[in-house]
Amino acid sequence: MGLITNYNLRSMTVRRGTAAMTAMGIAMVVAVFVMTMAIAQGFRGALVASGSNENAILLRKGATSETVSGVLRSQLPIIEAMPQVARASDGHPLASPELVVIIALPRVTDGAPANVPVRGVGPLAFEIRNTLRFVEGRRFTPGTREINVGRQAVTRFRGVALGNELKFGSASWKIVGIFEADGASFESEVWGDVDLMQPAFQRNGYQSVTLKLVAPSAFDTLQSTIGGDPRLDLKGYPEQDYYEGQSETTGTLMRIFGIFVTTILSIGAVFGAMNTMYAAVAYRTREIGTLRALGFSRVRIVAAFLVESVALALIGGAIGCILALPVHGVSTGALNMTSFTELAFKFRITPALLALGMVFSALMGAVGGLLPALRAARIPVARALREI
């Protein structure tokens, strides 16, 4: 393998221009692939980060998201009394009854209204979501019209800043703190006291209850306790599963779009690679004849040309990955079709995604190189040697 592979790899540098063009064609495809997948991953990541395996969220049976769920006021004490619910140091149950409504705020970029979720939370919500940290200001004081906003909401929507007032639900609310949450979807939200949000939005009751479990393993018994209580028409979900499910519709759509575009694009690049490899084979007919005359088998020739083609594609793939890297961490927003609100997230390029990009480029190289490699192996030795 050594000699012949070496020969093929070195041959690549003989026609630098052609090889570079082919590699760049593949690089573009891989760059598009990595970028579109980075959108889908970032979107999913923002929602998955919202869930913790120590927490559970309770929704009305059959509800697919918080916006269409309902929990009665009278159901809250029953839930809080359950032994699976963790307690704060002062003995208060760590359960937050929540209400999510959508308000429209103008986007910074074009002033067009975007749907922003407003979450009314219980006083212990910040103890339950312990990944939340304040970057500016402080928590809202329960019982007042103070609110906290996520970091992404500040950068994406007009008029959202510390000390400003937001008008919604027939009242004015003062922003007293800005929080971050490891890029989770909460960063796109507005948080306030659930007991004041209810009358402001003419709601009677909650939409969900999020609680901290005494241990992640307590979820199963919690679920059966809820199921056994006729007063509760609720269903629990591990918080992580719930938020992952919320990303499904839009995330899948994004992935399908990315795959559609890159598949079609890759067909074009494969044709380009084929052209290059056919030319390489034609150009080196005599050399191939010589190799065959020396006793290298057809299989070895096929393998060697495939290696050349794959190597060329891998170089392209690496360039493509490098081209795509700068978008990592860039913020963008998209409509989550499940909750119908705008979710801010960052392009997320993971090592696994880059590896996938490389595999994809290798595949393009293999497909593009196969026919030319077979052709190389089929050339009759006598004729090949006669060629000039």
């Binding site: 063009m21 573009m28 760059a31 919604f168 067909i267």
Partner: protein, 384 residues
């Protein structure tokens, strides 16, 4: 023109190579057509919106409702000639995955407001007469096999409507006569949903017709002023502005699809440019001979550009035609609900052809200038 034969001869020198290049250009133009079709679908909605229809929603957000008492206030606003209203129902047909728009509407005024909803007179009468009747777009009728007279049950999706299932009888299958209405929706009597809703008498949005499109903005403002400082403040926009906002919520589609299209063009440029370079390199000696015979440099240049153009445009034509045949809503069975008419327009076929011509010329530019500046002596001395 007299050189066309020569151009074709050069292009068919290596048939396989030319065919592969044509196919990659075809793929690029196909993708371009498909992406444009998506954007056009959204633009069509905004463009087809009526200039005399204005939409009133709650100022907080569309998901909040307002009392039915707003109807008379809006109706009495100077310039308003007709009012109708609707609610989003958000029910579930068998499985949450079966998503289509369901609207509780005031049937008579709604059909009057939207002449785009085309029903036969019999269907129309049957729908108006049946309190639990509904009409469905021919798009979902096809997808789910709905026929006039069928029963249909929706599970409640929004808690406002209680927990009992809603039963309907399909009284008509409508055809969408304009992009302002999609053929993927279901409409039924607002009263039927209101009977079971808590609180009752709630309206999601109003649609009003104004007598003069030039006054639409002013009428919209008058309506909003009437409800200012009430618990139910409103925000009224022309239908056009309203649909544009709706599309913009899906994210910056123009930018996303634009960047993808750019990547497509660049990729194809690499592939086609590579081919042209190969083709010229092979013919170095021939070109030198032609120059010796007295062909001016500019002719050589044009010959190579012409070759690039011919190869790319042939590929582009195939791609454009293919996209026109494959990319349309019916062939793909696309029933997303938001995109009404979906297809590649003639203008986009033309744009695709222009794009392929551009790719062909750009790809040939560098090889062509190399060929035209060839030093005859060097080239003739070279052994290919």
């Amino acid at each position: 023109m007299k050189f066309l034969g020569l151009v074709l001869k050069s292009a068919s020198r290596s048939k396989r190579r030319t065919a592969l290049t044509m196919m990659s250009v075809a793929v690029a133009v196909f993708l371009f057509g498909a992406l444009r079709a998506i954007l056009d679908g959204f633009d069509a909605v905004a463009a087809a919106s009526s200039a005399t229809r204005i939409v009133t929603i709650r100022s907080t957000s569309m998901i909040f409702s307002m009392p039915v008492s707003h109807t008379e206030v809006i109706r009495s606003t100077p310039g308003v000639t007709d009012v109708t209203w609707a609610n989003w129902f958000g029910g579930i047909y068998k499985d949450p995955k079966n998503f289509f728009g369901q609207f509780a509407v005031d049937p008579e005024s709604y059909l009057r407001m939207y002449p785009e909803i085309q029903l036969t007179p019999d269907e129309r009468k049957a729908f108006l007469d049946d309190r639990t009747g509904c009409i469905v777009g021919d798009g979902i009728a096809k997808k789910y096999g709905f026929k006039v007279g069928d029963r249909m049950t929706l599970q409640v999706g929004i808690p406002t409507y209680g927990s009992r299932d809603f039963d309907f009888t399909i009284r008509g299958v409508y055809h969408a006569g304009g992009a302002a209405v999609d053929n993927q929706s279901m409409m039924f009597h607002w009263k039927y949903a209101d009977e079971r809703s808590t609180p009752q008498g709630q309206i999601g949005w109003y649609v009003s017709r104004v007598d003069n499109p030039d006054r639409a903005v002013q009428v919209a403002k008058t309506i909003d002023d009437k409800f200012a400082n009430s618990p139910y403040e409103t925000k009224t926009d022309t239908e056009q502005a309203f649909s544009a906002q709706f599309a913009s919520m899906l994210g910056n589609l123009n930018l996303l699809l634009g960047s993808v299209a750019l990547a497509v063009v660049i990729t194809t440029l690499f592939v086609a440019g590579n081919t042209m370079a190969m083709s010229v390199r092979e013919r170095t000696t021939e070109i030198a001979v032609m120059r010796t015979l007295g062909f001016p440099a500019i002719t050589i240049f044009l010959l190579v550009v012409g070759e690039g153009l011919v190869v790319a445009v042939v590929g582009g034509t195939a791609g454009a035609l293919l996209s026109r045949v494959i990319v349309n809503g019916e062939a793909l069975g696309l029933t997303g609900g938001f995109i009404p008419a979906f297809g590649v327009s003639n203008a986009n076929v033309a744009a695709g052809l222009a794009l392929s011509a551009l790719i062909g010329m750009l790809a040939a530019l560098i090889p062509a200038s190399t060929a035209s500046r060839l030093k005859i002596v060097d080239a003739l001395r070279r052994v290919a």
